[in-house]
Every structure is written in C-alpha cells, then in structure tokens.
Amino acid sequence: MSKPAAPGSWATGRPKFPAPVPTKRADAPEAPEAAASPAAAPAGGLAAAADRAGAIAAEWAPVAGRILLGVVFAWFGYHELVQPGGWTQYVPFISESSSLAVLLVLTHGWVLLVTGAALVAGIAPRAAAAVASVLMLEIVIAVAMTGQSPTALRDVGVLGLAVCLTGVRQQHLVLRN
C-alpha cells in the first residue's frame, strides 16, 4: 500500500485505487537498472504483492470481522439460552438465584443469537453491528461492575470491532433480498 488511502476508502469496503499490476509491453526495452541490480526485480514484485494483499484485505477484512463477531455472539447467545444459570452472576442489582435474573439472561441470549445470525448471514449488517455495539457496551458495563477488569478490557476490543463494522457501507456476502 504505497499510495495514501483516500478518505472513506475503508468504509466503502473496497479501495479507491486498484492494486497496481506490473505490466510489461512487448516492445518495451529492458530496464538498465533492473538488469544491473538483480535485487530490484524481486523488490518490485514484493511491493506489488503487498499492494494486492492490501487491496484484498480492504475488501474482505470487514466480512471476516463481521462473520467472526457473529459467531461469537451466536455462541454466547446459545449458551445463555441452554444454561442460563451459569450467567445469572453477571446480572447486576438482581439476586442471581431469582427467576427474574434467569429471565433476563434468556432474553439477552435470544437477542445475542438473533444478532449473531444477522451478522453471519449479512442481514442488514450495519444495523446488526449497531445492535451488537449497544449489546457489547452493556456487557462491558455489566462485567466491569462484577470486578472482572481483564475480561471487561477484552470485551472493549470486541466493542471496538462492532463499532467499526457500523461504518462499513459496502460488504460482500450479504443477504440483501
């Protein structure tokens, strides 16, 4: 990525500038400096490969991030639904043995599962990412209140990913209709 990124190029999901592909005309004479130093040609190839990798990453990294975040949400949602008793300790202000705590965990698990499915399938991905951001903020606050700061800090990173995905306008592998 030798060229500077244009504003908004990340948000569109694809680079503004296509990756430069080294082309060589048939009638073009051999470059004297390339012939003089054998290290110059591999270095140029490496730069082109790096540019190409950058272009692929710009196009597909948001998709990978979205699907992986969706898998995390679906996994936690599933486990909150099938074993709510293991998660009631994270419900603040309410006794973990109460039925209300179980009900809140089940509701939370259901929202996580549906949001995870929306992220994986690419159904309204920006709206799903916005919901995921709100959920992650709530999770960070709830975990921080229980005093587990390393876990809360890790979840801040996941919150960052969710916030980042709300800004990605154009994505691959989405279910539009």
Partner: protein
C-alpha cells in the same frame, strides 16, 4: 440501515428467532438443575468416604 432486510433475510431471522425461543424454553425448564459443582462433589466424596450418610 434497516431498509436492506429482504424477505429471505426476514425468513432467516424469523427461523433463528423461533429456534432461540425453543432453546429459551429448554433453558427455563432446566434452569433449576445446575450441574454438579466442585464443592458439592467434595461433600459427596466426604459423605461416602466417612460413612456419614449411614
């Protein structure tokens, strides 16, 4: 943002929502039966080992 949800997307969300509801009912019915934890396991071993249950 939400305008991009089509009929297929809605079907997927509805299906996942129904599956989630079924899992929630399963979780609610099993919420009282917590798995054996380490402490209760130790108590059981103590009771059996010392014959305190007799």
């Amino acid at each position: 943002m939400i305008g991009s949800v089509g009929p297929r997307g809605l079907t997927v969300l509805l299906l996942v929502g129904i599956i989630g509801l079924a899992l929630a009912i399963l979780g609610w019915t099993h919420s009282g039966t917590a798995p054996l934890n380490e402490q209760s396991g130790r108590i059981a071993v103590y009771v059996v080992g010392t014959g305190a249950a007799r």
